[in-house]
Structure formats: structure tokens, C-alpha cells
Amino acid sequence: MRPLKTLAIAVAVATAATVTQAQIKIGFVAELSGPQAPLGQDQYDALMLLVEQNGGKLGGQAVQIIKEDSQLKPDVANQVVDKLLEKDKVQIITGVTFSNIMMAVHKKITDKGVFLIGSNAGPSPIAGAQCSPYFFSTSWQNDMQAEVVGKYASDKGYKSVMAMAPNYQAGKDFVAGFKRTYKGGTVVDEIYTPLNQQDFSAELAQVASKKPDALYVFYPGGLGVNFVKQFQQAGLNKSMTVMSASTVDGTTLPALRDAALGMLSGTFWGPDFPNEANQKFVAAFEKKYNRIPSQYAAQSYDAAQLLDSAIRKVSGKVDNKKAFHAALKAADFKSVRGNFKFGANQFPVQDMFMFDVAKDSKGRVSLRTVSKPLVGHTDSYVGQCQMKTL
């Protein structure tokens, strides 16, 4: 009897061990505190939405999501990533909200042979020279959101455009991206405001006096709220077209409401997309969280869907890196944006759209699709990427 009992215990222990082993550990890193937190929160909520819809599984395998806040501090991001890699031994990391955080952790994660599925930041170096087979993006390369606006301005035949952005790297990049695709007119003036400046009255007076055909702005987060409110209060919304990138989005519209009506914005996805995958996603997100999902949620939901499809393809054997890489690269899922595939640098090749701020069918202020200036758009840095094979 005794040996049998020992054997039974051994079997039970072994089974328990395989169960824990079968559970795939996924690290989630994002900005979850401070003024940037709404972005990271949407990324997290959308990821968990799919995980919960699948009963705690992705690709048919139980997953454990380990959430970490990078606090928009590169040193903190480094610490939490070290913890995920060394202590938790995660096989996959997803999320990452800001470009400077991405630059701080990208090399560390990919060097370790851990897959990083970026669901927001897409700084140019990792799309170009520093591209890695272990990195996939389900969002965009930063410049894409500016390039679509430049193309839209060309299509509209605007002869003179003024540009406004905060005076830091991303601000300069977004203006450069706009100029890359804006043809047939000139950027008559570029105004760069200090990153901590809250009031744009002086700059708006300059804009009003120069009367350009359109104004191009990049003011992410709270800065965008300031800009849009003040633009509207100055009465400029009646006489001037504003084309924006990363300025009005699902996270700032609740604070702006009617003040943002009519603003144009360029990005890759909107909540009104008619495709079935999107309709399902938006309805489920609204039901669970009682708000309209932002693009950050959509990006992260696609990251979750990508993982779901790839884990299923390899039957949970994510340690077979070659096979898992091929499964990720295949991108065999129905993206909420419609067309989706990975380019050579493993950033999306996708259609880019223009939206305007309008009331949706329920009377809420939201983004409405206006046009599709760029079809099957590839980012501008893919040529600099020499992708290693796994």
C-alpha cells in the first residue's frame, strides 16, 4: 500500500508541475500612473478583455499576465523589466507606452530572446537599424500617424500650412513626418512650444494673424486638451481647419466633448470601423468598461489577438522560438483595423485613415472615419532594417 501511495503522490505532484509549466507567463509593461496613465490603462484593459473572453487563456493555453508600471521613467522601466525577465521568467512581454521607455528596454528584452509585442510606441531606431526578430509592433511606427496627415493635406490641396508641436524629439519627428508626405504647398511656419507650456494664446494669435489654409498640430495627452480648448475659445475653429496627430483621441475626448467637434486626426483605426472583428471588440469593451475604446485599446487588443493566434499555432510551445516567431510573423488573426500584415521590420503594413470628431449614433463625441489617404502604408525606416533570421 505504501509504495502505491508514494507513487500516487508523485503522480499528483508531477501533474501539478506540468500544469504550472503549461501556464504561459506574459509580462505587461505600461504607464499606469501619472497623467499618461489613461493610455496604459486602455492597453491593459483591452489585453485583459480578450484574456477574460477566452476564460483566462490565449491560444487555448492558460496565461498569467504580470502587470508592471513603468511610471514614464526609463530607470523604473529597466527595473521592472529585469524583474520580469529574471524573477518571473516571462516568455513574452507586451505593452510599452512611450518611445523613451521602449528605447530603454527594447535591447535588453530582445537580446535575452524574449518576444516583445509593442502595442504603442514605435520609435524609428527599432524600425530601422536596431530592428530585431524578437520585436513585433501591433501599433505603428511613430511617423506613420504624421505621414497620413501630410498626405491628406496634399490631397486637399492646401497651399499653406502652419505646424505646432511641443519642443522635444517627438514634436520634431511628427513635424518631419508630416513634411515628408506633404506636397504641393509649403509649411509657412513651425512653432515649437516648451513641453511644460500650458497656455497657447500667444501662439494662437500668431496663427490667426498668418491665416494659413490649415493648421497641423501634435499635442499628445493633456497638452492636446489645452490646445483644443483654447483653439475653440479663440473662435478659430470657425475659420480654420485643424489637422492633428495624437492630439484628439479616445483618452482625451471625454475631457473635451463639444470643444473638439470638427477637429481632424490621422491614425490607423477608429471605433466606427464596420468590420466584424471591430464591431465585436468595441461592443465588448464598452459593455465591460463603460467607455469608448481608444486606439491604444485597439492596438493592445490586436496584440492579444496576435498572441492568441500564434500560441494556438504552436500549441503553447512558445519555447520553440523559431516556430513561435514564424507563427507571430504570419499574423493570422482578424485585426480590428481590417488589413494587417507585418513588414520586413515586423511593424504593421497597414492602411492609414483620417478621422474627424463628431457625435456618434448615441450622441457621444467620438472619432468618425473621413478618408483613407494611405493604402498599405509601410513605414519610412524599413529600408534601414537588416532583419536577422532566427
Partner: protein
């Protein structure tokens, strides 16, 4: 550079100036009278904006919002003074800086817990949502209202400090606290009153700024730095100094931002100018502060031995 443009930029500068004055008045009073450095003044500005936005959203009345902001921030100031800060008055300035910096973190986190991390909605009241045309320019009427409110408060403070018995006690308490106390005035309550008054003014500034800037955690910090510049230029403890310095800082900052890039383009080539212009414009008020400190270390309107003016 038309005269209309210059005029609207001067109005922008005045509007920023009076907003800074609302903040600086309270801060300089507290510093002048109690010799207390209160970095959490920006948090009271933030609380004012949140109280105002919440009350405005509930009642649809901007005036109720203003009332809630002023009373709410004043009450928080009163409680802060009585329960948290009294013990710090005797300590040196470094302790005060550290403790009030801790309060900034506390209030930012508190706001995040209650209202969430994103910015919340606050609009301009309907009656002031239009622009007015004057002297050939169209200017947002809400910003004109801010200028009006700021000037009214300045006048009110002047009358309060110079013409009333309370003002006289405040002035006396600043220079001779022991003497005032021996005459039977509760100097502690006088200090609390001054602190609450400063807090209420910060709350007023917050609710007035709410429809213009994003109401979010941490919104008080950038404006606090400008306020500190104002009270240094104006002279610590001087309300009159705070008033003039706020207007000077507001106008210099605005005109610098508006015209410095253009001026730089006239001197340097485009690329250099585009890099140097905004940088120099944002440095301008600090250069001004440095110049004032070099020439008049006590500020433009120094108070003699802590007297309040």
C-alpha cells in the same frame, strides 16, 4: 507684426499675469507674514480646479463652481494650516520645503484616486463662450473675464490690507507679532486666516484656469514655478510687488514666446533661429529674474523688515 497682433498678445500677457497674481498674492502673504515656504500652493490651485469642475458639472452653474472652488480650497487651506503646517512654522525653510513637497505628492495621488488619472471635462460657461470684437481684434470673452476678476481681486486685496482693521492687524502681525499678541489678538488665528485667504485665491485661480487648461493631476506644478518667479521679482511679502511682477512676467513671457522666434529669424538663419528662438523665449523670465536679483536682491518692491504692503 501688426498693431492688432501686438494688442492681442498684450491682452494674453495681462490675462496670464492676473492669473499668476491670484496665486502669487497668497503665496507672498504667507511667506511675508509667517516666513513660511509653501510649495503645496500649486496643489490648492489644482484642488480649486477640481472642486470647480465637479460643482460646475453637477449644477450646470459656473458661479456655483467658482464658489465651490474658493470655499473648498480655502477650507482645505484652513485645515492644512491648523493640523499639518502649524508645527512647521518654527522649523527652518528646508524642512518646510520638504514637508510641503510631500503634500504635493499626497494631493496629486489623492486626486488620482478620486477623479482618475486622465483630465476631466470643464468647459467655458455659455455666457462667456463667444469672442468679443474690440479695437479690430477678436478676443475670447472668457479671457477678458479672467482679467476683470483678477483686477477686482487686486483692488479688493488692496482695500482689505490697507483700509480695514483686519488688514491693519495683518500688517502689524507681520512686523511685530509679539506686540500684536500682547494686545490680545490671537496671532495664530490671524495666520490661519491669511493662509486660508491665500488658499482661497489659489482655488479661484484654479477654477478660472480650468476651462482653459487641462484639469488633471499635477496641473499645479508648472504654474507654481512661474508663481515663485513672480514673488521673487516682486519682492517677498509684497502684494503690490506681486501684482506688478505678475503682470510683468505675464507680458514678458507672452511677448517673448510670440515674437522671439521671429526676431531670431531676422538675426540668424532659419535652422538656428528655430532652435534658439523657443529656447530663449522660455528662458526670458528667468533671465529677468536673474537681472532683478543682481540689481535689486530684495525684488522690485521690497518690504522693509517683513512689512506687508
Amino acid at each position: 507684426m501688426t498693431t492688432q497682433l501686438a494688442l492681442s498678445q498684450i491682452l494674453n500677457g495681462l490675462q496670464l499675469g492676473v492669473l499668476l497674481f491670484l496665486l502669487a498674492a497668497g503665496l507672498t502673504l504667507v511667506f511675508g507674514i509667517m516666513s513660511f515656504v509653501n510649495l503645496a500652493h500649486g496643489s490648492l490651485f489644482m484642488l480649486g480646479a477640481y472642486f470647480g469642475a465637479a460643482a460646475f458639472a453637477k449644477t450646470d452653474s459656473f458661479l456655483v463652481g467658482v464658489f465651490a472652488a474658493v470655499v473648498g480650497a480655502g477650507a482645505v487651506g484652513l485645515l492644512l494650516d491648523r493640523f499639518a503646517l502649524t508645527k512647521l512654522y518654527e522649523r527652518d525653510h528646508l524642512d518646510q520645503v520638504l514637508a510641503t513637497f510631500g503634500l504635493i505628492l499626497f494631493f496629486n495621488e489623492l486626486i488620482r484616486i478620486i477623479w482618475g488619472p486622465g483630465s476631466i471635462f470643464m468647459q467655458v460657461p455659455d455666457a462667456l463662450s463667444q469672442t468679443v470684437n474690440m479695437f479690430g481684434i477678436s478676443y475670447p470673452s472668457y479671457r477678458i473675464a479672467i482679467i476683470g476678476v483678477g483686477l477686482l481681486v487686486a483692488l479688493g486685496l488692496y482695500l482689505l490690507i490697507q483700509k480695514t482693521r483686519v488688514g491693519m492687524l495683518i500688517r502689524a502681525g507681520a512686523t511685530h507679532p509679539a506686540m500684536v499678541a500682547s494686545l490680545g489678538v490671537n496671532i495664530k488665528w490671524l495666520n490661519t486666516l491669511v493662509f486660508a485667504l491665500g488658499a482661497a485665491l489659489a482655488g479661484l485661480a484654479g477654477v478660472m484656469a480650468g476651462p482653459i487648461i487641462s484639469v488633471q493631476p499635477g496641473m499645479g506644478e508648472p504654474v507654481l514655478i512661474l508663481t515663485l518667479v513672480v514673488i521673487i521679482i516682486g519682492g517677498l511679502g509684497s502684494i503690490r510687488g506681486a501684482f506688478y511682477a505678475a503682470l510683468i512676467v505675464g507680458v514678458v513671457d507672452t511677448l517673448g514666446r510670440a515674437f522671439m522666434p521671429t526676431i531670431m529669424r531676422g538675426i540668424f538663419e532659419r535652422n538656428t533661429a528655430d532652435a534658439a528662438g523657443p529656447a530663449l523665449a522660455s528662458m526670458l523670465i528667468y533671465l529677468l529674474m536673474a537681472a532683478v536679483l543682481a540689481l535689486k536682491p530684495q525684488g522690485l518692491f521690497p518690504t522693509s523688515a517683513g512689512a506687508v504692503r
